[in-house]
Amino acid sequence: MSITYLEAIREAQAKALAEDSRVFIYGQDVGAFGGAFKATKNLAQQFPGRVIDAPISEDAMVGLAIGAALEGLRPIVEIQFADFSTICFNQIVNQAATMYWRMQIPCPITIRLPCGGTSGSGPFHSQSMEALYAHYPGLVVMTPATVEDAFSMLLEAVAIDDPVIFCEHKFLYYHLKAESLPREALPTGKARIARAGRDMTIVTYSAMVHESLAVAEELAGEGTEIEVVDLRSIKPLDTDTVMASVARTGRLLCVGEAWPWGGVTAEVIARVASEGLNLLDAPPQRLNAKDTPVPYHPNLWAAHRPTAHSITIAARNLLRL
């Protein structure tokens, strides 16, 4: 029996609904239809009245979640595509994220954002938004890369008393499978060493973890051992694990699917440069998507974001520095 990344998300929601009566799901097409990606398939039938269809009103959807959280409920809001979250950006960063700071009342909402590109999805169905939310104080931002993490981290997101932006990757939904769901997991805030290495550290998150692992496999054949660090949550960011890895290898390559300016890769390098410059044997490098909107055509899309191929080139360059 194997379970996909998407099924893991559904299982997590089912478990949350079953075990905590305060949980409900609110989003477009989530009810009888089961969600645009089927992340809530059958849940409305299993849990009547707790999987509610929303109008196309992202602002009001998140606002409603905040009010419900004030009343003690634990809403999960499904935004159909992360790209649409710019509509509810105000509610997230100005009401949800400031609630504890201004009112000393926690805001335990979970916003699920299907992020990242798939072939042909185009500029408004492909974005990676994590850096925008990480920039604002008051939010937790998760970027699960594995089926196991998609399951456990979503459960933890619901349990956390603060607003959590849960960035699920659409490409991984049906491409990634696992044998079973985990019973335990690393806590939020801890990064995972996806592959141990010696010659270079690749720090990355979400779908790029798998591209990086492919690169590590390839270069292992040449005698180079690359360590891959999966950040899992980018806020809080596990600086200690990153630093320890760089201490072991002396070389750092950060890979992200988002745009370069002020992204996760910039943040990681800033931290390593200011707190661990003397660990570096070469200037730290990063690889991101091209600084343009995400293109539609598969040929262009393939060249727009980092792939195993482009990461390999960057890694080889770094080894030569």
Binding site: G63, L64, L73, Y100, G189
Partner: protein, 348 residues
């Protein structure tokens, strides 16, 4: 059919009681005296940031606060001092928040009108107008899911706030869910310096109610009798399950947008029209005409309000300002997820 809906309430719905009227008047008086004093403090350089008054809107505002019950939910706008007091917000909250006291409800982290006590039913205002309405919806929906019946949520707004997408989304959402939401719109003719003609193109804002599938009410916002009757009636309707109510009170803003603004753009013909009447003076006249109280009684109340305001201000002025070194600079309830050590190294 599009016709101006004055009010869908019957004659007898919400007929006003003298006791309620006098109580409302006293809240209005207290609000007015407090705000005059706040304006003075502002001009004396004692307040950081802006001061936003509700002069001219007290009747509409107090009607909301007075008609709501304990346990209801209220998201006020910036000019709701009277309504807040009537709903139960302590006077000292306003003074503390304006003077930035760390003992106030926002603990110096937010100021002036951006204050509230969410657990006690008052949602702190934020400047992204319309954004608070969905929060009220959320509270009401959550109560419904929890099986709690009979509460009402009110969101106050100005006519300017009705132009935002957030307003539209939230009213639409409330209508779909048939929530007991009452939207009280104070149409004070100006959003800062922008007149109504630049804010909406329909003949009357209340006409929008039909478009949303909700009940609409329009009233003279300067007349406390009208206000208590219509606002009280709308709230009652919502409580009885008739779905969202849209209440438009027509009045005129009798002060600047903020105290930094001299409102020189307000047309004098409006100031001289019935719209420009001071609701507080009108209410006082009503009291005297109907002999619900006499001059000496009114004077006694005025002095009591003055004393209360003055004493509160003196008390708060003696409270120390926040100490940044004693402040807990934490944004997450989950302490273990805050990057404290790292942040201390890299920020001031």
């Amino acid at each position: 059919m599009l016709r101006s809906v004055a009010s869908q309430l019957t004659e007898n719905e919400g007929a006003v009681q003298p006791q309620a009227f006098l109580e409302a008047y006293r809240w209005m008086l207290l609000a007015r005296i407090l705000e005059d004093k706040l304006a003075s403090l502002y001009r004396g350089g004692k307040i950081h940031g802006g001061v936003y008054l509700g002069r001219g809107q007290e009747a509409l505002s107090v009607s909301v606060g007075q008609s709501l019950r304990k346990g209801d939910f209220f998201a006020p706008l910036i000019r709701d001092q009277a309504g807040r007091l009537a709903f139960g917000e302590p006077l000292v909250d306003a003074v503390r928040t304006y003077l930035g006291s760390p003992v106030g409800p926002m603990r110096s982290r937010d100021g002036n009108v951006h204050r509230g006590r969410p657990k006690e039913g008052i949602w702190p205002m934020l400047s992204h107008l319309g954004a608070t309405i969905a929060v009220v919806n959320g509270v009401l929906l959550a109560r419904r899911l929890k099986g709690i019946r009979g509460s009402v949520g009110v969101a106050s707004l100005g006519e300017g706030g009705t132009s935002t997408g957030a307003f539209h989304e939230a009213l639409n959402q409330a209508a779909i869910e048939k929530l007991p939401l009452v939207l009280v719109i104070a149409n004070n003719q100006y959003a800062y310096s922008t007149p109504c003609t630049r804010q909406y193109a329909c003949a009357n804002l209340v006409d929008r109610a039909i478009g949303y599938g909700v009940q609409g009410h329009r009233l003279d916002g300067t007349d406390l009798v009208e206000c208590l009757r219509v606002v009280g009636g709308a709230i009652q309707r919502a409580r009885e399950g008739h779905g969202p109510q849209l209440v438009i009170g027509e009045l005129l803003r009798l002060c600047g947008h903020g105290e930094h603004d001299d409102a020189g753009y307000i047309e004098s013909r409006l100031k001289q029209s019935p719209l420009g009447r001071d609701c507080l003076s009108l209410a006082k006249m009503t009291i005297l005409e109907r002999r619900w109280a006499d001059h000496p009684q009114l004077e006694t109340w005025r002095q009591a309000a003055f004393k209360q305001v003055e004493n509160t201000i003196i008390k708060v002025q003696h409270e120390p300002p926040p100490d940044p070194y004693q402040e807990d600079w934490t944004v997450l309830a989950s302490r273990h997820l805050t990057e404290m050590a790292h942040l201390e190294r890299t920020s001031s």
